[in-house]
Amino acid sequence: MAGIELLSDQGYRLDGRKATELRKVQARLGVFAQADGSAYLEQGNTKVLAVVYGPHEMRGSRSRTLHDRAVINCQYSMATFSTAERKRRPHGDRKSTEMSLHLKQTFEAAVMTQLFPRSQIDIYVKILQSDGGNYSVCVNAATLAVIDAGIPMRDYVCACTVGFVDETPLADLCYAEESGGVSSLALALLPRGGQIALVQMDARLHQDHLEALIEAATTACKGVSKVLDEVVRQHLQEASVLTGE
């Protein structure tokens, strides 16, 4: 197959990273005062805004109410200017519906929903700029937003996309790598217990390589969690200074 060389003989990737290195992660918590929780996260050039409302009473149809836990409602959207070509992106298209569903499943596994019966938690994420690993970045941003909202979780949920090139797993794919014919896998992890919240993969891969790939994804997720943890602690420190505690 024709294509660019994703991993050079010296072990460099297209953007100069090594196989296991993550993109640079930058994040801020509490970017909007109106919402209960919010976060902005950059992972390389993928930039995401996540906003959380809740837990609050059920809105809309009451029939969805669950009597033992909270309902999580996720909505994923991409800005028209998020890709190289401007494109109108109506709500509710197939791709974003699927993504919303994945996010919902991920957070149902992490948020302690049983503490808030008959209520609802809304998570909205918007991709401002897309450069690969959209799902994972959304998960990471949403985690921060949920934490900012003060909703109890079992653990951070950290996600990372990994790909498999030349028998080597590549961590945290960028767009050029994702579109370069790599079989990629997205994994969301609760890092402390090592539980997997979600694995998603729709490419072909020999089953013997799967273990190595998941191993690499786990390591990458743990790396992400370290960064997120630092961000949260930093934020907490700033907040406590401001409130004078």
Partner: protein
């Protein structure tokens, strides 16, 4: 750790210009790969030595245009920059992979520096700066970085092609010099004449390219994206262009890569008719085709055409139309070095003496236009050229010359031509390689290392080890042992193979050389060894009476059932007691009186005892082998090829082979043990390394290829069942004409041709049901038993060693290569094996031609021989000459339209008339009556040489009588003698000719390349096997059996 930076790219995608933002990470530490490094860079792999006068950093345009010169091993301390590397990548993947291989190859003193990822050497592109300027600046900054990084201890030279760059940068920094490539070569490498010539030739070709006129001769190729989309949608077809050897002007075929998803029409391949439809594609290129409308489809020509003059005449008949297409794009050029001949000076070319159209030796390659000043000197010389490009404005591709081989027609030139045409590169072993070898001499012989003795299982005292090989064999790589274990119910069979990998460690220079050669090359008069002679003929050769390291497989077999009770693999120390040859072993088995050289000195009593011991071992071995054979036969092992070879061996050894189907059993015995060892090793390594073991598979043949065989056999009333390998073997055994043993032989040859080729592969890249070996009827097979002359066996040895280490729980010293690497290696070895095969056939053809060239066909009785018809064509027949082992066409209708008419006494002459072709015979009608030629008819032909100045000579056969040749009743003896003499005689003549013409300088040089000049018996056997198996028209399909049993 990492600092992030962003760069902006403007890229056009689907016609639109799009702004793409990409990240770009820079880092502090990028390895510099220099031994002078002060900063403790992580320099693993090869490093540039510190004792050079300078390092050279070639600029982008130098790398792109003059990579060939940078490939000279004499140039040391070359630093390729990532910037240049990327520029090369955009030029084509082939160029890029050449650079990659160059950097990987430890024999070349060059490294790749990732300058764009280094914090200090990276420069972002500035506004308004052209891409070329930016690249130059990047390379210059890399050079400066090196100078600073090495603390000024090494001067850096940046070479470029642009004078402006020289003036702009040369004074900015002391210690970093900027010079043009020409100056660089002249000042630093004044002695490297070859590089200067190459430089001149390339730059001339580049200038020519610029001044090209703009008249279009061909359609432009479509852009890659369009091609990719077209292939995906099924509109275009992708495949490798294969130009017809006989009608190179017009016919080319593209075999379809993936038959499964295409309609059934395309299974037979697609025809590309004419030069214009071929659209500048050259034989071997990977092309994209568009099918023409069905109305324009045509068939291929089935009539025999005569040699180089290839003009179509109106009345040629064609087969039924087949899919026809035209080339719309080339995905991957597959150009290699071509040998060309400068044409004799004629009026037509004198107008512009600098641009010459040269004629490639390979007929499938179009003429190449090159520019040179030396056209006069090089007349009638063979020269190596490379193609640079083929613009749509030019009828011919343009290229440049690389090196001169010598005058056409001389033996050395022709042999070198054969090697280069098959991409075989066999320089003499370098001193550095020989230094790696353990030393041994007559005064201070090599001895076993006590450390090794303690590590290895010592079989010197316990086992009776012996070898059975062809007479006079130097490189003994396999030995055998067999004994009864105490208790009586178990036998122990042992196969001991030379432990080559003990001496050749992975990644050493010798290993790399062996890897690039992949096999020992046997030509008609010489041999190019894969390993240096000190290994292949001495230390690794399991000679009699000396201690040697071995890799052994020992089975414990049940005496009655031959079921395997236990297998042991491992490294051993052996001392071969007897070095037997096949005849001797067979004589001992038959109970005949035979002189065993090893026992000649002993007293008679002792001798008898030892002899009895040896004979008993041989008998047991034979017994075991019979059982193993029977086991495989049940699975349907194909007897086919084995018989062929044995028949040939019989011939060779002048055993009056009245019944060619009764070979020496001992051959089969040895072969069977080797097959068994190979099989068990294959099982072992596949179990331990399920995805990266190197195995060998033989896919079942495609049924449609058996068409000719079945039809031909039908003509004699035999039916051939090709449904399974067993059915095929059985029906071939039945197809024996008692009056004419040649019938069966010819049928077997055709069957062999229909076979697909056995290939090496890595187990990770094929599904498990494809591992099967059709010919041997084994589920897994590999090559283990000849590490001296096959690289694949060395790989298998290493795999086995690693497997054993893994099993014992120890971490293997070095993890075996991954699946991808192994697959690449397998592909490489397969290619080299094919090349070796082709080179061997060509060299045999060459010697045949040289032999007949010396003789006058009209008078010399040796030019008249008996022949058998084995195929019928429109205007002639294909015949096989058993005496010389030659196959070829015989025309019954010549170009003037005359046909062969047969007189009452059987003599033939040309008369006007007509030819009718039928399925099993061809009839000529003329004024004198009509004559019929049937399949398997014996006729008499005269052999002469059709010489050609630009291509290889070919043998021409002409029918002179439709009666069998009078002496053809005893062809067997004649041929064996004739063959041997033939080679010797030609060598002698060539040497005489050289003496007369005061040895030209070139051929003396070539002579040094020769590594072993005398033809050994093995090569002769191999050669004879080839002769009778190969049809000059088709690709060689070597039989498996012979590759196994030696």
């Amino acid at each position: 750790m990492i600092k992030t930076e962003k760069i902006l790219h403007l890229k056009s995608y689907r016609g639109r210009r799009v702004r793409v933002v990409r990240e770009h990470y820079l880092r502090e530490r990028v390895p510099c790969f220099s031994s002078l490094c002060q900063a403790a860079c992580a320099n693993d792999g090869k490093v540039l030595p510190g004792d050079l006068t300078h390092y050279v950093v070639p600029g982008v345009e130098v790398v792109v245009n003059f990579l060939e010169i940078l490939e000279f091993r004499e140039l040391q301390g070359v630093i390729f920059t990532q910037t240049a590397c990327q520029a090369l990548q955009s030029k084509g993947r082939r160029c890029y992979s050449r650079l990659r291989n160059l950097v990987k190859d430890p024999r070349h003193d060059c490294v790749l520096f990732a300058n764009e990822f280094q914090e200090h050497s990276y420069r972002p592109r500035e506004k308004g700066e052209s891409h070329e300027q930016w690249q130059t600046r990047c390379v210059y900054e890399a050079a400066v970085w090196y100078y600073n990084h090495l603390a000024g201890m090494m001067s850096i030279v940046m070479v470029t092609e642009d004078e402006d760059v020289v003036s702009r940068f040369s004074n900015l920094n002391s210690g970093v010099f900027v010079v043009t490539f020409k100056d660089y070569l002249q000042n630093f490498w004044p002695d490297l004449q070859a590089a200067h010539e190459l430089y001149g030739s390339i730059s001339q070709a580049l200038q020519e390219k610029e001044s090209e006129d703009t008249q279009k001769e061909f359609c432009e190729h479509l852009p890659t994206e369009v091609l990719a989309a077209g292939i995906k949608s099924g509109r275009y077809i992708q495949g490798i262009l294969n130009v017809s050897k006989h009608r190179a002007q017009n016919e080319a075929f593209v075999a379809n890569d993936d038959i499964s998803n295409k309609n059934s029409d395309l299974i037979g391949g697609v025809l590309v008719y004419g030069v214009r439809n071929r659209n500048r594609a050259v034989h071997g290129d990977s092309v994209v085709l568009e099918l023409l409308p069905r109305s324009e489809w045509r068939g291929k020509v089935t009539a025999l055409t005569e040699g180089p003059v290839d003009e179509r005449t109106g009345g040629d008949s064609e087969s039924k139309p087949m899919p026809t297409g035209r080339v719309v794009g080339v995905l991957q050029r597959n150009w290699r070095d071509y040998v060309v001949t400068f044409p004799p000076r004629e009026g037509t070319q004198s107008r512009n003496s600098q641009r010459i159209l040269v004629i490639p030796w390979d007929r499938r390659i179009p003429k190449i236009r090159i520019s040179t000043q030396q056209a006069d000197v090089l007349q009638d010389h063979r020269v190596v050229v490379r193609i640079d490009s083929w613009e749509s404005t030019s009828l011919y591709p343009s290229g440049h010359s690389v090196r001169v081989l010598g005058r056409a027609g001389e033996l050395e030139t022709e042999v070198q031509t054969i090697l280069i045409e098959n991409c075989i590169h066999v320089p003499p072993f370098s001193e550095a390689q020989l230094r790696e070898m353990p030393s041994t001499s007559a005064t201070k012989p090599w001895t076993v290392d006590p450390v090794q003795v303690s590590k290895r299982r010592d079989l010197r005292e316990t086992h009776l080890v012996f070898s059975i090989d062809p007479r006079g064999c130097e490189d003994v790589d396999d030995t055998l042992s067999v004994r009864r274990l105490p208790g009586g119910s178990l036998l122990e069979l042992g196969v001991h193979i030379a432990d080559v990998t003990h001496f050749v460690s992975e990644g050493s220079l010798t290993d790399l050389e062996a890897r690039s050669r992949a096999t020992t090359y046997y030509l008609a008069d010489r041999r190019y060894d894969m390993l240096p002679a000190v290994l292949s003929a001495d230390l690794c050769s399991l000679l009699g009476g000396v201690d040697r390291y071995a890799m052994s497989v020992l089975w414990e077999l049940d005496v009655q059932t031959m079921a395997v009770a236990k297998v042991w693999f491992g490294r051993t120390l052996i001392r071969s007691s007897y070095q037997l040859h096949y005849e001797l072993a067979q004589a001992l088995l038959n109970g005949e009186e035979a002189e065993v050289p090893e026992l000649a000195q002993l007293a008679s009593e002792e001798r008898d005892g030892k002899l009895a011991e040896l004979v008993e071992a041989l008998e047991t071995l034979t017994h075991v082998a019979r059982h193993l054979r029977a086991q495989r036969d049940c699975g349907g092992a194909l007897e086919l090829e084995g018989v062929e070879v044995r028949a040939q061996l019989d011939e060779k050894r002048n055993i009056t082979a009245l019944v060619p189907r009764q070979p020496l059993e001992v051959h089969e015995t040895v072969a069977e043990c080797m097959i068994y060892a190979n099989h068990w090793v294959a099982r072992k390594i596949q179990e331990v390394f399920p995805y990266q073991a190197l195995l060998r598979r033989h896919p079942p043949p495609r049924q449609e290829l058996f068409g000719q065989l079945v039809d031909t056999a039908q003509a004699r009333g035999f039916s051939i069942d090709t449904s399974t390998n067993k059915a095929l073997a059985d029906s071939l055994n039945r197809a024996v004409d008692p009056r004419d043993p040649l019938v069966n032989r010819l049928l077997r040859m055709m069957a062999t041709q229909a076979m697909s080729q056995a290939v090496y592969f890595s187990t990770g890249s094929e599904p498990e049901d494809q591992f099967f070996h059709y010919g041997l009827a084994l589920d897994r097979y590999t090559h283990f038993t000849s590490p001296i002359r096959r690289y694949a066996d060395m790989v298998v040895h290493r795999l086995l060693t690693a497997a054993l280490a893994t099993e014992q729980g120890a971490e293997p010293v070095e993890a075996p290569a991954g699946n991808k690497e192994m697959e690449e290696l397998a592909e490489h070895i397969n290619n080299k094996n094919r090349a070796a095969q082709r080179a061997q056939n060509l060299s045999i053809g060459l010697f045949q031609c040289l032999f007949f060239k010396e003789r006058d066909p009209e008078t010399d009785p040796r030019c008249v021989a008996g022949a058998v018809i084995y195929s019928i064509r429109d205007n002639g027949v294909l015949v096989f000459v058993p005496e010389y082992g030659v196959k070829g066409p015989v025309y019954l209708k010549n170009k003037e339209g005359q046909v062969v008419s047969v007189g009452p006494d059987g003599t033939c002459e040309w008369q006007s008339g007509s030819v009718q072709r039928h399925s099993d015979h061809i009839r000529t009608t003329s004024a004198c009556g009509s004559a019929t030629f049937r399949l398997f008819d014996h006729i008499t032909v005269r052999v002469s040489v059709l010489s050609s100045s630009c291509h290889s000579d070919t043998l021409n056969m002409e029918v002179i009588s439709n009666k069998p040749h009078r002496s053809s009743s005893t062809p067997q003896q004649v041929s064996s003698q004739g063959r041997n003499q033939l080679v010797q005689e030609v060598v002698r003549l060539a040497e005489e000719a050289q003496k007369e013409t005061r040895k030209p300088k070139l051929s003396r040089e070539e002579r040094e390349f020769r590594q072993s000049k005398t033809p050994n018996l093995y090569s002769l056997l191999e050669e004879i096997r080839e002769l009778s198996l190969l049809d000059p028209e088709t690709e060689p399909r070597p039989p498996e059996g012979t590759q196994v049993d030696t």
